[in-house]
Subunit: 230 residues, 6 copies
Amino acid sequence: MVKEERVMALDLGPRPSLDPDIAAYFAKCEEKLGFIPNVLKAYAFDNRKLKAFIAMADDLMLGDSGLSKLEREMIAVAVSCANHCHYCLTAHGAAVRQRAADPEMGELIAQNYRAAALTLRQKAMLDFAVRLTEAPDKMEEMDRQALRRAGFKDRDIWDIAAVAAFYNMSNRLAAATDMKPNREYHYLVRDMVGKEADARSNAQAGPVSAASTNRAGETAQGRRRRRQAV
Amino acid sequence: MVKEERVMALDLGPRPSLDPDIAAYFAKCEEKLGFIPNVLKAYAFDNRKLKAFIAMADDLMLGDSGLSKLEREMIAVAVSCANHCHYCLTAHGAAVRQRAADPEMGELIAQNYRAAALTLRQKAMLDFAVRLTEAPDKMEEMDRQALRRAGFKDRDIWDIAAVAAFYNMSNRLAAATDMKPNREYHYLVRDMVGKEADARSNAQAGPVSAASTNRAGETAQGRRRRRQAV
Amino acid sequence: MVKEERVMALDLGPRPSLDPDIAAYFAKCEEKLGFIPNVLKAYAFDNRKLKAFIAMADDLMLGDSGLSKLEREMIAVAVSCANHCHYCLTAHGAAVRQRAADPEMGELIAQNYRAAALTLRQKAMLDFAVRLTEAPDKMEEMDRQALRRAGFKDRDIWDIAAVAAFYNMSNRLAAATDMKPNREYHYLVRDMVGKEADARSNAQAGPVSAASTNRAGETAQGRRRRRQAV
Amino acid sequence: MVKEERVMALDLGPRPSLDPDIAAYFAKCEEKLGFIPNVLKAYAFDNRKLKAFIAMADDLMLGDSGLSKLEREMIAVAVSCANHCHYCLTAHGAAVRQRAADPEMGELIAQNYRAAALTLRQKAMLDFAVRLTEAPDKMEEMDRQALRRAGFKDRDIWDIAAVAAFYNMSNRLAAATDMKPNREYHYLVRDMVGKEADARSNAQAGPVSAASTNRAGETAQGRRRRRQAV
Amino acid sequence: MVKEERVMALDLGPRPSLDPDIAAYFAKCEEKLGFIPNVLKAYAFDNRKLKAFIAMADDLMLGDSGLSKLEREMIAVAVSCANHCHYCLTAHGAAVRQRAADPEMGELIAQNYRAAALTLRQKAMLDFAVRLTEAPDKMEEMDRQALRRAGFKDRDIWDIAAVAAFYNMSNRLAAATDMKPNREYHYLVRDMVGKEADARSNAQAGPVSAASTNRAGETAQGRRRRRQAV
Amino acid sequence: MVKEERVMALDLGPRPSLDPDIAAYFAKCEEKLGFIPNVLKAYAFDNRKLKAFIAMADDLMLGDSGLSKLEREMIAVAVSCANHCHYCLTAHGAAVRQRAADPEMGELIAQNYRAAALTLRQKAMLDFAVRLTEAPDKMEEMDRQALRRAGFKDRDIWDIAAVAAFYNMSNRLAAATDMKPNREYHYLVRDMVGKEADARSNAQAGPVSAASTNRAGETAQGRRRRRQAV
């Protein structure tokens, strides 16, 4: 079934067998999310490249940080919005909806974060990330000072910069290869009404940031069943 | 001495001790290049982040590819030129001068690749990389087709895209943190006259792409001595 | 309840009583959609302005045209994407999902139409609309010729231009006033899996284009039948 | 004679007969201005579209507002300057010359309002209108606050936004169809020297904003006679 | 009287006495045009700078060239339009109206040359000039080839480039200093109807391109008298 | 030898004999620099154009001014960086390296002046010059005020504007003609380490700004010899 799905516009030939640690990682995705994020399938033509990508992505989005996981996903989405990246808006839009337990806010960031009711902290964070995206050559000390005034420590500024920079990379790889997001993302965390959504969904982080949009850890089967019920 | 040098505008606190494999890597840089590239020092506040960065950078710039190492450095520099990135123009500008054994060509790409006398293949490659940098949302199948017409295989297109995307990340991390390149880069491979330069310099690849601008494998000591002679 | 909801960032004072024909129109919206589109509430401070807006919007989006209603909504969304308009992406994104009976395609146009699998006709139409949005001063005869080559008649070109131009107006009015879309839009036509979507969502047709995400008022049953026939 | 004049680059077929109210409106234009503005002739292929356009344009430019008619024309021209719209710069440039009774100021706004000696109120108004034109996605509360500080009420802000938005529509319809302004506009209100011009010209508003550039209410016949005298 | 008129936003102190050759040049301007172009008054704080400016401007706009004087003025105006330069649009807009003996065409180029009915040669010429203005870093051999295909020789290409480049300089000097054009320019060559205008006006070239908009050689006195008659 | 070197992409035919004063000027270049700057060779097809160019360039870059010669070269390079001009970055990059006696600072301005450790005065100066380059139509009184606050007099502001404007011209002439810098520039002032460089190099100004990068007055012969020694 995987073979038939078109993941991107490049034909990189038959996929080599996965290294054991990667195979285990894929199995965990399948179990937790019900699917392998397409960006991983795209990278799977080369075990070394795939591992480097996972190592960087997982550290940035799931590792220790002064930024919450939701905040990091918000950066990913605001950057991807500025770059009009279909893949990342779909995958990380789902992640924001899930982590915020708020489908409307998720969509808002994907459309234009300036229209969202953000805290001053979040606003400063996204202003920096988007300015870095649109005019990296114009960054100056006063941009960092604005973050410090909003309460961020230098260590947090690194993380804001690193996440924003990473999605400027991912957006471009996706654009250059016409990478297609898994269809499942479209349907994740759409039904919750505002804040009533099950906040526990936040508790179970998926192993891969790009894929960690599974709803409250339910199995893929369960999710499929639930949707039929609707 | 390292402590006194300012590497970037963020203060991330005291550096933790390096993991043994990283310490060995740094020692190898010091031996081969005569210095540790500042981007590695900047990342060294966190062993995990540093390893992920090195893994990705070295795979992209030094791993197997249908693109020569020079071509990959040309992409790095053309992208960094579009983003006006001081750090990467300095470090990778030196790399292009060294790998091309042509200081003039190195500077040309750093200033505006359109003014360089490129092969059609190189021109198509850099057109794609810069367009991906400036307007990722506008990429279409015809952009990939232009590369195929210029003789690139789909596997090469991935590499062009991945290298261009990577420097869109690095440029932004450098801009956001005001990262400073090692002063040594400024003076590398400046004196050679045109093509007469020792072409063997191409043969010895440094371990870190960002640092691999050592001239013809001479030791740092030897290089230092030579400069005094001038 | 309406009084408490914030529709935009401007306070235009108490709403005058609606003219009878407008009151009837609002009642029809309420009955068919279950809500009054916020853009109408925003305009309701002045009956004359409201009528002019409805007259133009309904003619453009629901009147006779060589463009299908779906195509017109696609233009609305592609333009709103280029302008990052939260209001219109939400309201007309829902309309595309509904008229296409395809939530994924709806989102795609809202993110970046270039990533969608469009017909040549649709691609030419959206290329023109987005170019007109981004660089109106650069339009030339060859832009019109591209539409003619794609099979559009001059009368269709007027409609493409008029719809694209209209959303360049609406996007800016929404941006200037921070207009908020009705929350209901977020949840419309989300659950359908591809073409199997529950066509009942279609049944509540709005009379106003901004809300009118039903397809020409045909019954859901009729549409399903028709589609099978196709 | 009308038949021979080229109004736009689209051929929309023979013009249907005008509805009686529109025919009366055209007669009034002819009587007051000496010509039918070409934008109305362009729209005349469809009575319904024409009426919707006139209703919106006349309400915006001639209806009640906290903005003077001159101020609204200044917005129209500053927006059209940003969009380089030949049609609107010609028609509304004439209108500013006439309403300001100052041909130099009219041209100045059409060239670059920043070079004009504006009041703080006018400057704030045009800054907002042009920013809304160039970067609608960047509008924020502080943009509205700048207008409030300059003395505008929220009701005025709506009008500034609505007029600026309307000309972003009109500019694009004109650009997409290569709409040609009536030649008469070029020659209107050119000879007055500064402020000495008959200020009464402001008093007689024409029925259609786009056409309301007749000079001090003189009949078309009288105007034609005058030009021959020169 | 000169002392009271504000020529620019900078106060450069009392004007030194003019060198004899410049004084004679100014006298000739006064005699032929009826005024001294403000750009010359602005430069007059330094005889050396003034001479260098006049030498370059007169050579470019009035010297031998494969381009007609009208074509050179068209370039000046199209460039100034792209840069929204009030001074140059006013002074050289008048020059195009005069040299073309066509006030409508003059305005058209000042608004958007793409809307003008240009010959293929003129279109190619202005496309090149405006592209050079907007994106100098993107110029390539194919841009020069487009000019050659349109019939231009390499010597003409130099002139197109040199004139376009010169107005990119002048536009910026005017913008940086808020330079004000002489009011007389606004009223020059406004009344002629189409091509019937006295084509002889072309025959008498003024000494300074920026000032050479005198109407058909009439004396300043005669012109002043005529205006009073209106 | 001159005949064989390609100076630009245009073929302007055989060079006429130089006027005596120009021939003397060229001889002086050859003596002092060891070469004739290619921009002069490019202009040499027409003695009159060449003289006008030299007169303006030399006055701006070497004449009396409240700006130091280094500051004027910094403006030239910052503007050329914004425009990605290969010719001017090479020629004037060498000039900044030489006048600052600091090869690193020279490169920095050529890459992105915002990354340089500038004084407030220098920063304000380059901010103005680059803003004037990128958005001439947006200049306002507050831009001039920022320069006055940084200590510049109105006379200095003229010079900042005039130099920035001049390189906006030169950059475009170079881009339009694909002008190639002399290869010698690449190798000038590369070896000095920081501030230890011979500061006397500043004392001997070359006659042509574009060429005045000769190193500490050494003869061309001596320099050539030195390089062979390396």
